[in-house]
Amino acid sequence: MVILASLVIVPLITALLLLVFRSNRARAVLVIAAVVLLVALSLVLTVRYLPASSGFAVAQSGIVSYVMLGVDLLCCLYVLYRGIRASNYLAIFLAALQGILALVYEFGFSHNAAVSTDVYVDALSLIMTLIIAVIGGAICVYALGYMQSYQEHLEHEGSRLAVSGEPSRVAEALRLIRDRRHVFFALMFVFLAAMFALVFSNRLSWLLTAWEVTTVCSFALIGYDRTEESIRNSFRAVVVNLSGGLAFTLALIMLAGGGTPIFELDKLIEAGVDGALVLPLMLLAFAGITKAAQMPFQGWLLGAMVAPTPVSALLHSSTMVKAGVFLLIKLAPTFGWNVPGLFVLIVGALSFLGCTALAISQSNAKRALAYSTVANLGLIVCCAGVGTPEASWAAIFLLIFHAAAKALLFCCVGTAEHHLGSRNIERLDNIFVRMPWLASCMALGMMAMFIAPFGMLVSKWAALVSLIESGHLELLFVLAFGSALTFVIWAKWLGKVLAIGREDERISTRVSRTETVSLAFMAFLLIALTLAIPYVSELFVMPYLWETGQILQLPLWSTASDVLGYDNLMIVSVVFMVMLALLAVQILRRRPPSNDTVYLAGVGADSEERSYYNAFGELSDATQRNWYLDELFGEKILVRPATILLSAVIAVFFIFGIILELMLV
């Protein structure tokens, strides 16, 4: 219990300290110390509570509730304030409504409710804790180095503007230059605190507050740059997430106002399993779907790309979108062949297929990663919607491995962007020669996203099995075609990253040590997790399913008898890791210079530059752009129909839900 509380309080205190001590050195010490402490705490918590789940009642829960409500209202006020300054009426409206409803819920229903379990810890929240502490922590450490060069870059830009001499520009320049990194890091830690609170809260009102804090933190972080674009995108994010939060609050009010009032998550799941709830579940699912940026709400996550890279890494891997799928996985036992289940399943499946296809058409590395995130979350959402234990197993596995791989990928792309000056995939040319270790990490992250023997593939495979088992045969098509599309995204990108041009040219600028260390750590984590797949399953995922009464019908993964081919996969794992090690040796070794020239129809000029003499005897460059299949999967072609289709799906399901709810009443 003390550890639970300290997991929330430590990052908050760190955030406060970060606001006070603003020197680079103090910040580095604080961040690293806090991260180490958080990781240690989460490990202690894991050892202490695994595998059983336990719930606690908080002694002064009334006071905590007041604090939580206060935080919630503060969040609303902050959005209100920013909304008024930016004259964004939708945000103002949503924030005001949210605040009022929160007050209504707290004082109208929840405050004096008898709640036996305020906070809890089970294997799933332990998994989330570890992800938040370890991966989120690694990203915070990474951000130290990254934000240093980010700030330098801003100052450079600012001084360029200032030199231009126009008064308005100078003001803008001064604004650009102002070092607000202390706010940035404080927000990152508040984010982590909110995530911890979110995975431990059993009292729904507290869960709601944590939910809203993540919304507002992401809002502030996306708008960190204060440029026109970043402010616009931050409002887009907050509008979507506030509507999700509103749905959440409405669901809570409905639950509290029902025949048997429900104020706790575990009670809610129990009631849901009995089939007594329809509309509240759908509203909660809607909240999860908006937060997980599922279609048609994917826009906010793509817009969030304007933020500094650590923010994207954090949003995509360990926080924010993971909060959305966490909620849905928690609710998974209540889904299945019912209206909320089918709703979640269809939205997830379509998002998976649509966003995988869209990711192919992206040449902007961060956008491609973002679409791939939405796609993978779609798969998790879809699995949650299936609602069987096998599907939950797959969903949790996807969540773990997606977090590990995406954090690494985003951080790699961020560092590459700083040192190569572009986030365009085409511009990553020759990165393998210029920054071999970075390219290797990136390649590892990409491979981890789609090929055997890495966890993502194992989870997809489990998803396939669970779909067969649950009778959702139509979704097998989604998965089969989606997997093929996934191959395209990563294969062509991997090709670019691993292309070798001039062998002797290494980049001169040094990558900061915090960046290197956290990248190396994340790469190591990925490999370790892959080798530990059976233990992840047996120590974490199975106990959670067991505890929540989800008993696997099919032996997905065990050494005795299994569907996924435990021994087969282990052979592949070992072979693959040996090969990776050999490859690493190959990278380390001094390479012999190329003793061949590239074929350029006999008119090649410089083999390493890929230039040739054209028909006029002049030099031309032989360039080759990757395939983006714009005419098939471009945003212009897919986004509008997908948005219309999915909005229609959501509308239809809600109409159904309302009718059903009325019939139930």
Partner: protein
């Protein structure tokens, strides 16, 4: 699949795979020549080609391409060993895509414009055939309740009876996998259908020999897929499977010689349409046949 059966299959596949693959390719070249009114090369011509390539000077654009190709070869051998040892059929599928991935990376690593075009086309080919072979694994599971290929040995009727349309879908994408016209987009064995030599443009000498050998293994593995549909409980059905696989190979040669290469758009859209239709109708058919087969 026991470790022993895996070991036996691995050794057998390592030795017999290239032998069979070489013979198949040799026969292919003679039959193709006869279809074109020519005499054609000696039966062992593919073997001579590879021996020659191995004896060539060692030269490469970078020190990684050869390594990636070896990885592709190892992955193909592993997948074949799993397949013939009665291992997990979906794992075989995933290993095949891993092998393709390394082949593609090998081409990309050279930064040759021609090889990159070839690599891009290879990716499109994977996009075209992957759904069908994943769905094949799924249907296999629906019928046998297991992903292990060894499960066919306990069937009372061959898979093709329950899944004729899935078999048809397999035949369609088999043309891509065996690198036969009209779907030999990334590289073909025929002269002058290429942007130079497509994905293999920068692979020479030993590297090209490795590519050829990998292709032999792949051919055998995919004919194994064909054979899988014709094996059931009696062991003698293995002979039937071999005969059918050879017949299908002959059919592919006929197709190879009857069609010109198509555009990738055609290949992609038709592969997907066929995969989708075959699998969807198979589901319907399964539902109808449910009482008889499952």
């Amino acid at each position: 699949m026991t470790p022993l059966s895996f070991g036996v299959a691995l050794v057998a596949f390592v030795i017999l795979g290239p032998l069979l693959g070489c013979f198949l390719t040799g026969a292919d070249r003679i039959i193709t020549a006869r279809m074109q009114g020519r005499v054609g090369p000696p039966f062992l011509q593919p073997y001579y080609d590879v021996r020659k390539l191995l004896a060539k000077e060692r030269r490469s654009l970078n020190s990684f391409q050869g390594y990636y190709l070896i990885l592709a070869l190892i992955m193909t051998i592993l997948s074949g060993a799993f397949f013939f040892a009665g291992g997990n059929i979906l794992l075989v599928v995933f290993l095949i895509s891993l092998s393709s991935l390394f082949f593609i990376i090998a081409a990309y690593s050279t930064r040759s414009p021609y090889a990159e075009v070839g690599a891009g086309r290879e990716i499109i080919q994977v996009l075209a055939y992957e759904p069908m072979i994943i769905l094949l694994g799924v249907f296999f599971f629906l019928i046998t309740d297991s992903f292990d290929t060894s499960a066919v040995a306990s069937l009372e009727l061959p898979l093709v009876v329950a899944l004729p349309l899935v078999f048809a879908g397999l035949l369609f994408i088999l043309t891509i996998k065996l690198r036969k016209s009209p779907f030999d987009l990334s590289f073909s064995h025929h002269a002058h259908q290429e942007l130079v030599k497509g994905i293999t443009t920068e692979m020479s000498g030993r590297s090209l020999a490795v590519v050829e050998i990998t292709h032999w293994y792949e051919n055998v593995l995919f004919l194994g897929y064909v054979g899988l549909f014709f094996v059931w409980a009696p062991p003698s059905t293995l002979i039937l499977a071999v005969v059918v696989a050879l017949a299908v190979y002959f059919l592919e040669i006929v197709i190879d010689n009857s069609f010109a290469r198509v555009k990738w758009q055609f290949m992609l859209s038709w592969s997907w349409i066929v995969s989708l239709l075959c699998s969807a109708l198979s589901l319907v058919l399964l539902a109808v046949l449910n009482g008889f087969v499952v």
